[in-house]
Amino acid sequence: MGTKKKEAFKERLNSLTVLLVLVLMLLVFSVIAKGFFSTRNLYYLLQQVSVVGLLAVGQTFVIVSKGIDLSVGTTVGLSCIMSAILITQYHVPVLLAITLAILLGAFVGAINGILVAILGIPAFIATLGTMYVFEAVALLSCGGNNIYSLPASIKAFSNLNLLGIIPSITIITLIFAVVAHVLLSKTRFGRYTYAIGSNEEAARFSGIKVKTKLFMIYLMSGILSGIAGALMLCRLNCGVALAGEGYEMNAIAAVVIGGGSLFGGEGSIPGALVGALIMTVLSNGLQLMGVSTYWQKLLIGIVLVCAVFIDNVRRRKEM
């Protein structure tokens, strides 16, 4: 029993390391970055992390299954601009417009799923292709212009909050994250995702319907990106075709910092959320300190590579 407890503790310690890094960063920025530890800034930080966090949730499933979804950033923009167009130009009721935008996300996800799971095109290429295609669709639909003058209800929803510090869109992300966590860690679908990611052939021989599951994973990533687009619309209070530009990379980085492996079979939702927070806190804290965005990118790049390097060292020790 002794060794068993030790192993369980070790496992927990590994997942706690990233959390520890986050707490440390929060402490350091609270001291050295003026205005970091204020209700206003934390509120803003949570709003900022919500979109990437939701994308990271979907991306976790994809990465655990040994795939990658590069189209999520584009889908955010597509969903954001489309709902804005539907509301302002076609006078579709807000809720219906958002539902349609989410369905559009599902459509992108379904296409990814067909390309990857059914036609067997490598996920990197398939989703790179849909990324370009739907970026074009988003830009063409609005001629590249932002869409303002959205109804007041959107702004009102965006301003809703819990106890004055948890924004409404963060609550939505959290709800989906909890559901996704249960799905990944407790259900059979979750187990199959790990099985496919760690050895697809063995998974197939074990009776798992690999194609169906992979299709569902990409579909889910698409739906969550559609929802993230709706959250983006609320946050920006305007429709922007390129609202999610580069977000796919942030989401992937968040999953990987949180313990996900691009070799498949590893990763968790809480880890991905902590990873997303680390990225967001870093850029927010640096911004408050007056560090230019150029330097921010440099530091985020270093943090990402270091995180994966440390993880690799840990894993080699395990062998």
Partner: protein, 493 residues
């Protein structure tokens, strides 16, 4: 000459190597024997710079050598011919031989020199039927292996290690390899020969080292030793009772019936397996036995015929259908098609059960970790799996223990028709005995078992009936009392 002095290597308080000391001299072939998990691979990984030793020293030609990386190992004159070939099929023989060590002319590869080097190496081995400018693609395993050896000796090693070199060779190809090994020995190289085939070791080696549980169990001249003695050193106990005591459990009830069933290389054939019966499928490599199994479980599409399970015709389009009809397939290649090596034991054991919807592992529609843990502990006990906990990652287990998990996951799924494909390939003697015991136990519990094996004694040891396949057809059906010659003749038909 290479000398190991008190080498120790520990993984997780588990001594993989425990005070290992021995010498191998120039101009001799030293056989390194032992079961899987005895420490041979660990020792070789230390030599090739993959692992670092915890304690001890290695002397090469009298000088102490630090082998921290593959590069250092190569510089110290160590060459390894791996079991799994590491050639690049799209390059030519010559390109493969000089790979990562290309002769240069300015900044470019000197193509002429490259061909010369390759031709010289092949000539040194006495090979004249391989053209250096041919692409490797499409060459036989034996020819590819020769290229690998040529690459190895092109770097002028003093010590060459052959790791299970004969596994995928025919008898004739094996002779060729042995000829090359003898020639290298005459050239004064130190040769370490790792093999599971005792007959080969006795024929080729001057001296032998037998390892057991990370220690050197025997170290001495090969001359005069018998296979039985060697097995004795390897397991430290008598090799008797290898096959379980036989009792016929066959019932009248038909489990699996194929009628005019075929596709691909498998010609339409009939086959019946009853509950409680163990049926062997004997044959040479390429006879179509694995292909038949793949047709049954829906991995490949059958062209014609019918499958009946429990007397009812069924349609199996994929492994999921097979599982739902109670058919489990223990994959020949457990590493690629059988197991999730980076995941835990209990994860692996639970997957088919989860797919089959067994209530032991599911609670309120969710995967029940307690139930899975309980099931895993039970299966680990039943199969005698050596591990530190059900949560241990599978890749840290020996081949034999991995195979037990590969079998256990199907037993746990409740499948009543089990197809074993080469179940004892690459596992040690004790694990083999356990696999045989498990197969008979399954029959006793009323399961229908089909065993594919290229090793006839083992089929005779565990089966009630043996069907021989050759060129996609069934060419004979024999009882367990049949003599091996009969089986071998049927394999040639």
């Amino acid at each position: 000459m290479i000398e190991f002095k008190h080498i120790t290597k520990t993984f997780f308080s588990n001594k993989a190597l425990d005070d290992v000391s021995f010498k191998a001299y120039s101009g001799e072939i030293l056989a390194l024997l032992g079961q899987n998990g005895a420490g041979k691979s660990t020792l070789m990984k230390i030599l090739s710079g993959v692992y670092k030793k915890d304690e001890g020293q290695i002397f090469i030609e009298g000088r102490e050598a630090e082998l921290g990386s593959a590069e250092e190992s190569r510089k110290n004159g160590i060459g390894i011919v791996f079991q799994e070939l590491s050639n690049v099929p799209h390059l030519t023989v010559a390109e493969n031989i000089v790979l990562a060590n290309e002769p240069l002319k300015g900044a470019f590869v000197d193509k002429k020199k490259q061909l010369e080097v390759a031709a010289e190496m092949l000539a040194r081995m006495g090979i004249d039927d391989i053209a250096p400018d041919r692409k490797l693609l499409g060459m036989s395993v034996s020819q590819q292996q020769i290229c690998e050896i040529a690459k190895c000796i092109s770097q002028n090693p003093q010590i060459v290690i052959f790791d299970e070199p004969t596994t995928s060779l025919t008898t004739k190809e094996k002779e060729k390899l042995f000829e090359i090994m003898r020639k290298m020995k005459q050239d004064g190289l130190t040769i370490i020969f790792i093999t599971h085939y005792l007959e080969d070791a006795i024929m080729m080696a001057d001296r032998c080292v037998v390892m057991k549980d990370g220690k050197v169990a025997f170290h001495g001249m090969m001359e005069g030793l018998t296979e039985n003695q060697l097995v004795g050193f390897m397991i430290g106990e008598k090799a008797s009772d290898f096959y379980p005591a036989y009792q016929n459990y066959t019932t009248e009830e038909t489990a699996l019936e194929l009628k005019g069933f075929g596709g691909g290389v498998v010609s339409p054939l009939d086959l019946t397996v009853r509950y409680g019966e163990v049926v062997g499928l004997s044959g040479l490599i390429g006879a179509g036995r694995t292909e038949l199994a793949h047709l049954i479980i829906g991995e490949d599409k059958a062209k014609c015929g019918h499958i009946f399970v429990n007397g009812k015709e069924v349609y199996i389009r994929n492994e999921n259908d097979a599982l739902r009809h109670g058919i489990g397939y223990i994959n020949e290649d457990r590493r690629t098609g059988g197991l999730n090596l980076t995941m835990s034991l209990q994860f692996n054991l639970s997957i088919p059960s989860l797919v089959a919807g067994r209530k032991e592992v599911i609670k309120k529609g969710m995967a029940d970790d307690r139930g899975i843990s309980r099931m895993a502990e039970e299966m680990i006990g039943k199969l005698g799996v050596k591990c530190s906990s059900p949560k241990q990652k599978l890749m840290n287990l020996s081949g034999g223990n991995q195979q037990k998990i590969s079998i256990g996951k199907w037993i746990a799924s409740g499948a009543r028709i089990l197809i074993f494909d080469e179940p004892t390939k690459g596992i040690d003697v004790l694990a083999k005995a356990k696999v045989y015991e498990v197969i008979r136990e399954l029959a006793k519990q009323g399961c229908a078992v089909l065993v594919i094996s290229s090793y006839n004694p083992e089929l005779k040891g565990v089966c009630d009936r043996i069907e021989v396949m050759a060129k996609g057809r069934i060419t004979g059906s024999y009882g367990r009392e049949t003599i091996e010659e009969e089986l071998m003749l049927a394999q040639q038909r």
